[in-house]
Amino acid sequence: MRTDRDYSDIPGTYVFDPEHSRQGYHLNMFCMSLNEAKNRDEFRESETHYLDKFPVTPEQRKAVLERNWIDMLRLGGNFYYTFKIAIFDGLTMQEVGAAMSGVSKETFQKMMLDGGRQIDGNRYTSEWKK
């Protein structure tokens, strides 16, 4: 993540800015391809062979195969695109939210039912370091 932007001090947030977009173009376009049923079938048949069609970096490829949602974002993925992999896997937004924030699905769901993650204490990276 770049550190010279006015949003760089927001914790746990990957802004899909020009630098991320440049880095993640092929990763995101791979995700986009899963909108088509025939591509989903092909990906299901062999994830590695299907990924060969896209010039993603070895790190991006690893993140996809391991379903490392945070690494995908860090490596230029946009969540609306990477979430297409989650749809493919049959996961809900809350399951992926739980995975990204390092808690169980139940804990995440309870947090949402209780009104979501509070804004207080979550505005600045400095608040997370304490």
């Binding site: 949003y7 927001i10 376009m29 989903r40 946009n78 969540f79 749809i87 937004m93 949402m112 505005r123």
Partner: protein, 281 residues
């Protein structure tokens, strides 16, 4: 002449559409939200707009990173529901109003808003969920729809000020259209939510409530909310709220609030809805 008489601001969270599609609106989880939508459905039935201009964002469905229009207008006669990865939603095909849409496109471009014009535009949950919220589950949607798609995925999205002024230009365009029809405008998306990263699940009800208040109390404050303020206070996806500013710009300065409802959570989102009307509607 055509008249732009009212605006609706509403969230467009995908599982809200899922709840309608799977007849789950009366479950313990969804009932409090859908009860809050009933008065808006009644309002739609009473007011019967002929056309709804729906300002929404595409979520990697019709557009991708291949081409990122900041503002696009759909000018076709029909818009099919998009396949977002689990097959298209089984909702009616959206009927466009090609003549009015082209009229708006032309007027906007002469007013120096350089619109992208879309003849083919599969519409995703960003557009169809607001229709489900306000119209329920009909055989056909009760009004024609002009999709107005805004980029809020690739940073930077357009500013609140630009969106507000686009709304004003849309008002002018609609009201120079030579047919006696009633037009409503929807601003969709938001309210506060963050889907991604370690901060996923962020919701800020205080921000959302102030936003709803200031749609009538202090529009200038809303126009000037910066990108970083949206990101920090309303979450990475909260910046969708700029689309509500297009709706607001299309209404009178003294437009009146008719109804609002707010509920947390709808999936990972603070779900708000508001109905605003011009005085001389």
């Amino acid at each position: 002449m055509a008249k732009l008489f009212a605006g609706i601001g509403t969230s467009h969270v995908p599982p809200i559409g899922g709840a309608v599609d799977h007849d789950a609106t009366q479950t313990d989880y969804w009932k409090p939200l859908f009860d809050g939508y009933e008065p808006v459905k009644a309002w739609m039935e009473k007011e019967k707009p002929d056309v709804a201009i729906i300002v929404y964002n595409d979520h990697a469905s019709a557009f991708s990173l291949k081409l990122i229009p900041t503002f696009a207008i759909g000018v076709a006669d029909q818009f099919a529901p998009a396949d977002e990865g689990f097959g298209p939603r089984k909702v009616p095909v959206v009927q466009g109003h090609s003549k009015l849409a082209w009229h708006i496109a032309e007027s906007l471009i002469f007013d120096e808003f350089d619109m992208t014009i879309a003849n083919e535009l599969p519409v995703d949950h960003g557009l169809t969920v607001p229709l489900s919220i306000t119209c329920g589950k009909p055989e056909e949607w009760p009004c024609k729809v002009i999709p107005l798609c805004v980029n809020v995925i690739q940073y930077p999205s357009p500013t609140g000020n630009r969106c507000f002024n686009l709304g004003k230009a849309i008002r002018k365009a609609v009201e120079s259209f030579d047919e006696d029809i009633k037009v409503a405008i929807f601003g969709t998306g938001g309210m506060s939510h963050q889907l991604q990263g370690e901060r996923a699940g962020l919701v800020n009800p205080a921000f959302d409530k102030a936003f709803l208040d200031d749609l009538t109390n202090d529009v200038d404050r809303l126009i000037n909310i910066s990108h970083v303020e949206y990101l920090r206070e309303a979450g990475s996806e909260g910046a969708e709220l700029v689309m509500w500013m297009i709706m607001r710009g299309a209404l009178d300065d003294n437009a009146k609030e008719i109804y609002r409802h707010y509920h947390v959570p709808a999936s990972n989102t603070g779900a708000g809805i508001i109905v605003l009307e011009n005085e001389d509607k």
